[in-house]
Symmetry: C2
Subunit: 148 residues, 2 copies
């Protein structure tokens, strides 16, 4: 693939995933396919950004899938060569020009703000974390009304 | 905020948002608060990745919120100073160390693969697009079973 643009932006990880998943070949494709619990371990520098997270919160974890191939635009879904190739933007393949992983999870434990356990995560051990956001309810309603 | 890590990753935009939203002060905070239809305009280099997208598809658009402040870790929710400050990772504020925007939208038109219209997007005109993914149904089930 030719270079897309001169315009670039720098991602700086805010933490990393600690998971028993080591081997990409054994990792589930999606969290609902038997992904294990994992720890999100954050850098001291972002402590103040994490304080209001609580056990039970549903969040979206954004990761940088650092073992993905950024040159890929067409894939066989789920790596199954019996399925016709599709453009990566209509799949959840990790292989894509900007391999950002989206993982909707529930917080199951928090230790000293910086260590957050989540219920099921398909990301490999050591995967960089780049952002967290509260999950929105379907249909776009906010998760909790702010007090007035 | 001190530098978080020496480890960095380079995002290369795959396209840009065309929207009537020009002024950040007038943009809705969330798509369900009256965001307008917008066009996603992609670079020729990623055409092959887009071919299987169709009108009616629900997708997640990932943007780089290039006018956000990356040094912010605490915000008043929705910019309302009567609300107590919170850590950015428990809010949807654009201001955060890696300002990636997540926008769940429906495709309403496609012109020559590279121009995709979506129903409601709160991103400003010119915002870089970094990825697209099919939206997952709630509870983690896949949007469509692959044929066996």
């Amino acid at each position: 693939m030719p270079p897309i643009s001169e315009e670039t932006y720098l991602l700086r990880p805010i933490g990393h995933v600690e998971s028993p998943l080591i081997d990409p070949a054994e990792a589930p494709k999606q969290s609902f396919e038997g992904a294990p619990a994992a720890w999100l371990v954050f850098d001291e520098a972002v402590r103040e950004g994490l304080r209001e997270l609580h056990v039970g919160d549903e969040i979206v974890v954004l990761t940088w899938l650092d073992r993905a191939d950024r040159g890929v635009l067409r894939v066989h879904p789920r790596g199954d060569t019996s399925l016709p190739e599709r453009g990566v933007f209509s799949t959840r393949s990790p292989h894509r020009p900007n391999p950002i992983g989206l993982h909707r999870v529930k917080i199951t434990a928090i230790v000293d703000v910086l260590r957050i356990q989540v219920d099921a995560l398909e990301a490999l051990n050591g995967t960089p974390i780049v952002d967290l956001k509260p999950a929105l309810k379907r249909g776009g309603s906010p998760p909790r009304q702010a007090p007035r």
